[in-house]
């Protein structure tokens, strides 16, 4: 049996673990903090194929030949953020969201223009934005201090912070500077490949992983700091588990900031005005890596800030809609999901919706436009940076 065949057999076995109970649709389980499960079900026409039970039926049919492998027949498998809320509540002995990610990888022959384009852009440009990759360091020129390309602490910026939301990158740098921690940023930072993995391009992801691994080795890094939940999950978990690549310690800037605050190495001043903040847990950081408290402790460490929780939070948090390639694959759906999450934040009475992932921030901003309410969306990194020298 080839590796490919045994992989397929194992995957089929996992898919067969589903007993079609349907708990992954819209379970409201107050005792455990669930108030709905699948954001796609809740923000679409809601047919069975919108949530995991139906997706698994479709996946099995595609893989066993019962259903022809066409773009149309596999559409539902890509209309998913892979947020893992279904995994959180699923009683079966498998992880539905991870399994669906693997299924996408096995459907290589299914035409899917979106993922092909993303993969092409990333492999050609080292970022999904079809831009000159050196722009990932462009924000440094606005800092007033320079950042070397080699060092023991490496800030892995990520494509979205580097090229779309540079404030996150600048504020991460400010925090590190305020704590007096010397750090580096790669000269040519490749994409971590998260989006390639999520959309089912494992070979392309392996290629980018190799690039990242080499670049990190050359930088002399002993610790990697990231500001993106997607980068965090990919570097910390996927690299060793999927590509057998061991990196130095990887941590989110908010985990590091949490430690620095506790050690007294960061002393935030009060944030001006009245600030009621609610925190959205990025799926990659929360459900995937169980990092729930560091961001909250950082928020609570800022004087003049009151933290309030949305109805679903931590391991039962509803997704922002950006993940799993959905923002690219079905941006309207992704934005609608975000608008629901923004509404969740509005319902708390908060005047700031904070998160810890540029992907989430970007999509939630789109969601806020749909809701039509002025709800500032900020990265916790930016909140903290405002209050430290």
């Amino acid at each position: 049996m080839t590796t490919m065949e045994s992989g397929m057999e194992q995957l089929m076995e996992e898919l067969h673990q589903c007993r079609r109970c349907g708990i992954c649709r819209n379970a409201v389980y107050d005792a455990r903090g669930f108030d709905g499960i699948c954001p796609v079900y809740e923000n679409s026409t809601g047919f069975e194929t919108s949530f995991m039970r139906g997706k698994i039926i479709v996946a099995l049919a595609l893989l066993n030949g019962e259903l022809e492998k066409t773009a149309r027949n596999s559409e539902s498998l890509f209309d998913c953020t892979l947020c893992g809320n279904c995994t959180q509540i699923c009683p079966a002995e498998f992880e539905p969201a991870h399994t669906l990610e693997l299924v996408r990888g096995l459907l290589a022959e299914v035409p899917n223009q979106v993922r092909e384009e993303i993969a092409h852009k990333i492999l050609s440009n080292n970022n999904p934005y079809e831009e000159d990759n050196s722009r990932k360091r462009k924000w440094i020129s606005e800092l007033g201090f320079d950042i070397p390309t080699n060092g023991e602490i490496l800030y892995f910026v990520g494509c979205t912070a580097g090229m779309r939301i540079p404030e996150v990158a600048k504020n991460t740098a400010k925090i590190l500077k305020a704590a007096d921690l010397p750090f580096a940023v790669l000269q040519e930072e490749p994409c971590c490949g998260s989006v390639l993995l999520r959309t089912g391009k494992p070979e392309a992801a392996a290629e980018t992983a190799e690039r990242v691994s080499n670049a990190i080795k050359e930088s002399g890094a002993k610790k990697i700091v990231v500001s993106c939940a997607g980068c965090l999950k990919t570097l910390k978990e996927d690299f060793p588990n999927k590509f057998d690549i061991e990196l130095p310690e990887v941590l989110h800037i908010l985990e590091l900031a949490d430690n620095l605050l506790q050690e007294g190495r960061l002393k935030p001043k009060a944030l001006p005005g009245k600030n009621t903040v609610t925190y959205h847990d990025p799926c990659h950081m929360g459900r995937e890596l169980s990092i729930y408290e560091s961001p909250r402790r950082v928020i609570q460490a800022i004087p003049n800030v009151n933290l309030v929780e949305m109805e679903t939070n931590r391991d039962t948090a509803m997704c922002c809609g950006a993940g799993g390639g959905l923002r690219s694959y079905n941006s309207e759906l992704a934005k609608n999901i975000a608008s629901k999450r923004v509404q969740d934040a509005i319902d708390t009475g908060a005047n700031i919706l904070a998160t810890a992932c540029p992907f989430c921030e970007h999509n939630l901003q789109s969601g806020a436009k749909i809701v039509g309410r002025n709800m500032p969306i900020k990265d916790v990194v930016s909140l903290l940076a405002e209050c430290v020298e």
């Binding site: 079609r20 109970c21 108030d35 026409t45 069975e48 039970r53 139906g54 039926i57 022809e68 079966a92």
Partner: protein
């Protein structure tokens, strides 16, 4: 299905809520009934109101199109598997909720799950105290349609006992309201047995074969917060059975009570013992696991004391292990989903009711069948209401083993016949309960007459109710 029919249905609900896509049809060909063959419908529609359901049924009736109503899709005995080429009418968009606090009742749309309702009621200090063990997926209307029960039923009876009235769309599209709400001037649901015959009861357990339930009005009760979890041990099954009867006789309020014999308890421990933190124990041959519930602490204390006295009087022992009943009760909204994963196999289930005094007869029949057919399985159950006991034996098979699956199907039918002989009754009137059973002939003839009157074209979920 004719393109023109799809077009007409699209005009009613909007094209986005009708689908004939292959992948969608496939996903509606199955449900949580893993032991049943999938059957593909020809279209699926997701109406957003009772009126839309009515208009769809008028069209279906005109063109003699078979329809299959479906809510949460969590049923386990093939209740929502469509017939070939049927139109599936999925009701999850009917999610209305109306509270009538003064009447101690609520009206919910067919798409409201027990989990959702429980959350809505909790803030008012109320509850609907019957929880099918699929409460996070099952809708109230779906459970009424299958005549279900669950934790809470020990004190309050099956879901039918909670129903005050139904809104039903008949196969020809007429909309009727049963119970006190049949009077449009009524302030809301307050009496089921109004206006003569109990039409409400006609649709409870009818599996969507007489009409589509679009709204259910249910009784509400003040939410209990005082619970006591206890296990009681007995050497003989008769003692355990008598214990349940005497608790009822003495008005000791068990909201959930189950008898476990040793083998079954062992199976349960393998499945959930560790998770529920149930300590190792040398369990007696028969264990009764009980959640006592009361509104007031003094009532609860009185019940605890009385239950122990009754247990002692029957030569039983108060075991003192609370984790088993606590786990059952705390997990009551999803136990079905958990048990679905035992051993990672697929299964067939044979829900039925027995009397507590005949509890052992079901157990004996179930074990006999499992032994004869060389199958793995178990049965669990709980006391339900006045003097009944709900059983749900599981017969497991490995989905890849076709021969074993064949044996399970055969054993399943055989078991239904044997259970019938013990005096057990089904609440899902599946064909296997009545096919070839002489004693049920006249009953089925009457039922067929009713079906023929309400559904002369036979479009409503044909076959699901006793093969009609």
């Amino acid at each position: 299905m004719e393109e023109s029919t799809i077009e007409k249905i699209s005009q009613i609900v909007g094209p986005e809520y009708v689908s004939t896509r292959e992948d969608v049809l496939l996903s509606y060909s199955a449900s949580a009934s893993t032991g049943y063959d999938s059957v593909k419908p020809s279209a699926v529609v997701r109406p957003g109101s009772t009126e839309e359901v009515s208009e769809i049924l008028k069209i279906a009736n005109d063109v003699n199109l078979k329809v299959t109503p479906r809510c949460g899709g969590s049923s386990l005995q093939g209740e929502v598997i469509p017939v070939e080429g049927a139109l599936v009418i999925e009701l999850m968009r009917l999610d209305s909720f109306e509270l009538h606090e003064d009447l101690r009742s609520a009206t919910v749309g067919a798409g409201v799950t027990f989990g959702k309702l429980d959350k809505l009621l909790k803030v008012c200090g109320l509850w609907l105290p019957v929880y099918p063990e699929s409460s996070l997926v099952a809708t109230v209307a779906g459970n009424v349609a299958v005549n279900g029960a669950g934790p809470g039923s020990t004190a309050y009876g099956c879901i039918a006992e909670m129903v005050l009235g139904l809104e039903v769309v008949l196969p020809d599209g007429r909309i009727i309201q049963t119970g006190s709400e049949a009077n449009p001037n009524a302030p809301g649901p307050f009496l089921r047995y109004a206006f003569g015959p109990d039409l409400t009861g006609l649709f409870i357990g009818s599996l969507g074969s007489l009409g589509i339930i679009t709204k259910v009005s249910v009784k509400l009760f003040k939410r209990m917060e005082e619970f006591h979890y206890e296990t009681y041990g007995f050497q003989e099954s008769e003692q355990a059975q008598k214990f349940l009867i005497e608790l009822k006789e003495n008005n000791v309020n068990a909201v959930f009570a189950s008898i476990y014999e040793g083998r079954i308890l062992g199976f349960f421990m393998d499945m959930l013992g560790e998770e529920y933190h149930i300590p190792e124990h040398d369990w007696p041959p028969f264990t009764v696991s009980i959640t006592l519930g009361r509104l007031r602490e003094d009532q609860l204390q009185s019940d605890i004391k009385r239950a122990a006295e009754i247990c002692g009087g029957l030569e039983g022992e108060v075991i003192g292990i609370s984790e088993l009943p606590r786990g059952e009760w705390d997990d009551r909204m999803r136990t079905f989903a958990r048990s679905s994963y035992a051993h990672g196999w697929h299964w067939r289930i044979l829900y039925h009711h027995q009397t507590p005094s005949n509890w052992h007869k079901s157990i004996e029949a179930i074990w006999d069948v499992m032994d004869e057919y060389a199958l793995l399985g178990h049965t669990a159950g709980f006391a339900t209401g006045h003097s009944s006991y709900n059983f749900y034996p599981h017969l497991y098979y490995f989905p890849e083993d076709k021969e074993e699956e064949r044996r399970v199907r055969e054993a399943h039918v055989d078991l239904s016949k044997r259970l019938f002989k013990t005096g057990a009754v089904p609440f899902k009137l599946a064909p296997y309960w009545v096919n070839g059973v002489d004693e049920m002939k006249e009953y089925m003839n009457v039922l067929k007459g009713i079906k023929d009157v309400l559904d002369p074209n036979g479009i409503m979920h044909p076959g699901v109710m006793g093969g009609l």
